[in-house]
Amino acid sequence: MSDFLSAGWSVYIAIVTIVSLAACLALLVITARGKSGSTGESTGHVWDGDLRELNNPMPRWWMILFIITIVFGAGYLLLYPGLGSARGLLGWTSAGALAQDQRKSDAALSVVYAKYAATPFPELAKDRGAMAIGERLFINNCAACHGSDARGSKGFPNLTDNDWLHGGTQEAIVESITHGRVGMMPSMAAAVGTPADVSDVAEYVLSLSNSPHDAAASARGATKFVVCAACHGPDGKGNQAIGSANLTDDIWLHGRGKAAIMAMIDNGKTNVMPAQEHRLTSEQIHVVGAFVWSLSHQDGSGVADAATH
C-alpha cells in the first residue's frame, strides 16, 4: 500500500470496514428482536386523502439474504486483500492474476509461434495464418509510427517500397526490430561551406534522382558533395551498414524539395527506431518481421490489399 504515507491509514480503513460490518449485523439483530412491526399497523402517513402507509414487517428471507451478504463480505475480506493493507489468506494480487493469465496465454501461443520460428521469411509470408498474426502485431506495435498501411509518413519510413535504410534481409529486419536503429545525419553546414554552397549541394542532390534542378548550381555542388560521400557514397546510393539514405531514388523520408534538403544539411537529424526486444518475444519479432518483409515482396500495394478481418 504505497498509496498511503502512513500505515495508520491502513489500520483506519480496516477498522472502518469491520465496524461497518458489525454495525450492519447489530442493526439486523436489534430490529429482528424489536416488537415494532405488526401487520396492518399504520405509520400515520396518508397521501391523496386515502392512501395509507403501513408498517409491515420485512420477509424473513430478506433478512437471511442480508446475513448471507455479511458472511460473504467477511469471507471475502479474510481471503482477499481488502482490510487495509492485509494480503488475505489466498495471497491474491492483481499483478499476480495478470501474470497467471499471461502465462496461460503464452503457453497457448507458444505452440502457435513454435511452428513459425524455424520458417524463413519467404515461406512464412505465404502462410495466411502467420500473416494475420503478423498484421495484428504490426497494428498493435508498429502502426502508431509507420501507419496502419505501413506506408509511414515524414520521418517514419515506408515499409512497403523495398527501399531499406538498414537492409531488407531477414537478419537485418529482425535486428532492426529487436534492437532498434538510430539514423544519425550530422549538421553539415560548416563542412559544406557557405549558405550558397549548401544551396548548390542541395541542387546536386536533387539532380541525383533526376528531380527538377538548376544544372549550373548542381555542377558547383557536385564538387562540395565529397563531404557527403563519406556516408552517402560517391554515387549517393547510401550505405545500409551505417543506415545512410539512398539519395538517387524518389523517396524522401524527411521531406521532398530543396528546402527540406537544405534543412537536413544545415541541421542534421537523429531519427530513432526504438528497440522492441522488451515488448515482443523473439518469436513475435520473427512473425512481425516476416509480415514487414512480405509488404515489399508481393504484387499489389501492401496491406491495403491484404484486407483485415
Binding site: 405488526s38 401487520t39 420477509p59 498501411d149 515524414k154 517514419f156 483485415t308 478481418h309
Partner: protein, 487 residues
C-alpha cells in the same frame, strides 16, 4: 335490522384464513400461500396467454431460417439474427426502441385496465401458474395441499413431494436450456446435453436460469411481486379514477354474511343482507393472499382470479354476476354503466400514450424497413496524419470498416468526393463475406496543385460507397471525414 340465520348448510361462515401472521419481529417468515384453482373467463385468458408466451419462448429457438436458427444472439461473434435481420452491436438503438415501445405499452395498458401485464403475461405469473399446475397434479388443490402440509411424513407424502420437486426441477432446467439456446445454437446445445459436455458458461447459465425459474415460480411467487418488482410499485401509481381495476362492489355486497339458501335475490334487502355471502373464495384463490373486499391494495396483480371465483358463486346463487369485477373508481362510485366507463377510456392521458406509442412503432418499423444491409465507418489513421508521395501528391490514410449486415456476399465500390482531384489510390472495389465485417486501410491522394490550392489544414472529404447489386439497389451511402494537407 333482523339478523339472518347463521351457519346453516353449505354457506356457513368459515374463518378467514389469516393473510400474514400478526405481531412480533420486524422480519417474518412468510406463510406459504396455497391458492385454490379457479375456472372462468379470466382464468381461460390467462391459460391462453401462458400457452402463447411459452410456445413462443420454448419453440422459437428450434425454428430454422435461412439454414440457421431463426433467432440467435451470437455474443461471441457479436451478430444478432432475428429472422431475416442480421443486427450488429451498432444497431442497439433498435433494442432501445423496443424497450421504449414496451414501456409505453405498459403505461397504456395500465392506465386503461390496471396491471394486465402482471396478471396475465408477466413471466413471474406465467411460471407460477405452470408450477402451481404441477403442484396440483401431485398434491391436489388447496384443501388437499393444506392437509398434506399439516400431515406427518408418510410414503405417500414423500412420493408426492419428490414427484413435484422432480417435475419442477425438470421444467427449470428445460427453461435454462432454452434460454441458453438463444445464445448458443440450440441443436449444438442439445447434442452437448446428450454427452453433458456444456462449456463452463453454458453450465452456469442453464443451472442459474433454471434455479431462478424454480425458486421464483416454486417458492418466491408473490414475494417477487411484493418485494422485488419495481414495476409492481410504479404501475399502481399510474392508476387514475377512470382506470379499470379489480374491485369489490361494497354497496352491492355489504352487509356480508351467510343466509339461508331459500332467500332469493329480491328478498335480500328484507333480511338486511348484501350480496356477499362471505364464502372467502375470493381470498382462497388470490395468488398474493389478499382480501380484495378491503379495497385496492398494492399486492393486487390484477389477475382477476377473485372475479372468476365470485362470478361462479353468484351463478350458483342466481345472483347477478360482477360483485367483484373490473370497474373504474368513478364507475363504482357513480354507478356508471359499462358503456359509460368505456367512453371515459378515450381520455387525454390515454390518447397521448396511444399517440406516442403509435409514433414510436411507426418510426421503428420505418427505420427497420429502410435499413441498409450494410454499415460503413470511416476512421482517419491514427499513425500518419498526411504524407507526401511520388510526384508530390498528398496522401492520407483511412481505416474503412465495412459491415455486411446480410447473408449474401456483397461487393462495394468506394469513391471520394468533396475535394477536386481526390482519388482512392488503393483498390476501390471490396468484397465482404456474408455477415462479415472488414477493416481495411484506404489511401486517398490529392495532386500537388489541388493540395496547394486547398492550403494546409483539414478539409472536408466525403466517402461514397455503393453496393454492386443485381437487383439494382445500390443503397449509396456517404460518410464524412477530413483530408489533411501538411504545412
Amino acid at each position: 335490522m333482523t339478523p339472518g340465520p347463521i351457519a346453516s348448510g353449505t354457506f356457513g361462515r368459515r374463518p378467514v384464513i389469516p393473510i400474514v401472521p400478526r405481531g412480533g419481529s420486524m422480519y417474518q417468515a412468510e406463510k406459504k400461500i396455497q391458492p385454490r384453482s379457479v375456472k372462468g373467463w379470466f382464468a381461460s385468458w390467462r391459460w391462453l396467454l401462458v400457452a402463447l408466451t411459452q410456445a413462443l419462448f420454448y419453440g422459437l429457438p428450434w425454428l430454422p431460417w435461412n439454414s440457421r436458427q431463426a433467432v440467435l444472439f451470437d455474443l461471441g461473434a457479436r451478430r444478432f439474427y432475428i429472422f431475416d435481420l442480421v443486427l450488429y452491436p451498432q444497431d442497439f438503438i433498435y433494442l432501445t426502441g423496443l424497450l421504449v415501445v414496451s414501456a409505453y405499452s405498459l403505461f397504456l395498458f395500465t392506465a386503461v385496465a390496471g396491471r394486465l401485464w402482471c396478471g396475465f403475461a408477466c413471466p413471474q405469473t406465467v411460471y407460477t401458474e405452470i408450477f402451481l399446475w404441477v403442484e396440483r397434479r401431485f398434491e391436489g388443490d388447496r384443501t388437499a395441499r393444506l392437509r398434506l402440509e399439516a400431515s406427518p411424513w408418510t410414503l405417500d407424502k414423500l412420493w408426492r413431494k419428490c414427484g413435484k420437486q422432480a417435475a419442477w426441477i425438470a421444467i427449470g432446467l428445460w427453461t435454462g436450456f432454452t434460454f441458453v439456446g438463444y445464445f448458443t445454437p440450440i441443436h449444438t446445445l442439445a447434442a452437448e446435453t446428450l454427452r453433458l459436455s456444456f462449456g463452463p458458461w453454458e453450465w452456469f447459465w442453464i443451472v442459474f436460469y433454471g434455479f431462478a425459474t424454480y425458486g421464483a415460480a416454486g417458492y418466491m411467487r408473490e414475494q417477487v411481486c411484493k418485494y422485488m418488482c419495481p414495476y409492481a410499485r410504479f404501475q399502481s401509481a399510474m392508476f387514475d379514477r377512470d382506470t379499470m381495476i379489480v374491485s369489490y362492489d361494497a354497496r352491492r355486497g355489504e352487509p356480508r354474511g351467510a343466509r339461508p339458501r331459500s332467500v332469493g335475490h329480491a328478498e335480500l334487502a328484507a333480511i338486511g343482507k348484501g350480496e356477499c355471502i362471505d364464502c372467502t373464495l375470493c381470498v382462497q384463490v388470490c395468488p398474493t393472499g389478499i382480501d380484495i373486499r378491503a379495497g385496492l391494495q398494492y399486492e393486487c396483480i390484477g389477475c382477476a382470479a377473485c372475479v372468476d371465483a365470485c362470478d361462479g358463486v353468484m351463478d350458483k346463487l342466481t345472483y347477478p354476476r360482477g360483485l367483484i369485477r373490473f370497474v373504474t373508481e368513478n364507475g363504482l362510485e357513480q354507478g356508471w354503466s359499462r358503456s359509460a366507463m368505456i367512453r371515459r377510456v378515450l381520455r387525454p392521458r390515454i390518447l397521448v400514450y396511444g399517440a406516442v406509442l403509435v409514433a414510436i412503432v411507426a418510426g421503428l418499423g420505418t427505420s427497420l424497413a429502410l435499413r441498409r444491409p450494410y454499415r460503413v465507418d470511416v476512421i482517419r489513421d491514427r499513425g500518419a496524419m498526411a504524407r507526401e508521395v511520388e510526384g508530390g501528391r498528398i496522401e492520407n490514410v483511412y481505416r474503412l470498416q465495412l459491415m455486411n449486415a446480410s447473408e449474401q456476399r456483397q461487393q462495394f465500390h468506394v469513391t471520394v468526393g468533396g475535394i477536386p482531384g481526390a482519388a482512392i489510390a488503393s483498390t476501390p472495389d471490396i468484397d465482404v463475406d456474408p455477415t462479415d465485417s472488414l477493416w481495411l486501410p484506404v489511401r486517398v491522394q490529392v495532386p500537388p496543385e489541388e493540395a496547394q490550392a486547398l492550403g494546409p489544414g483539414a478539409h472536408p472529404l466525403r466517402f461514397q460507397i455503393v453496393r454492386a447489386s443485381t437487383s439494382g439497389h445500390e443503397d449509396p451511402l456517404s460518410e464524412k471525414s477530413t483530408f489533411v494537407v501538411p504545412r
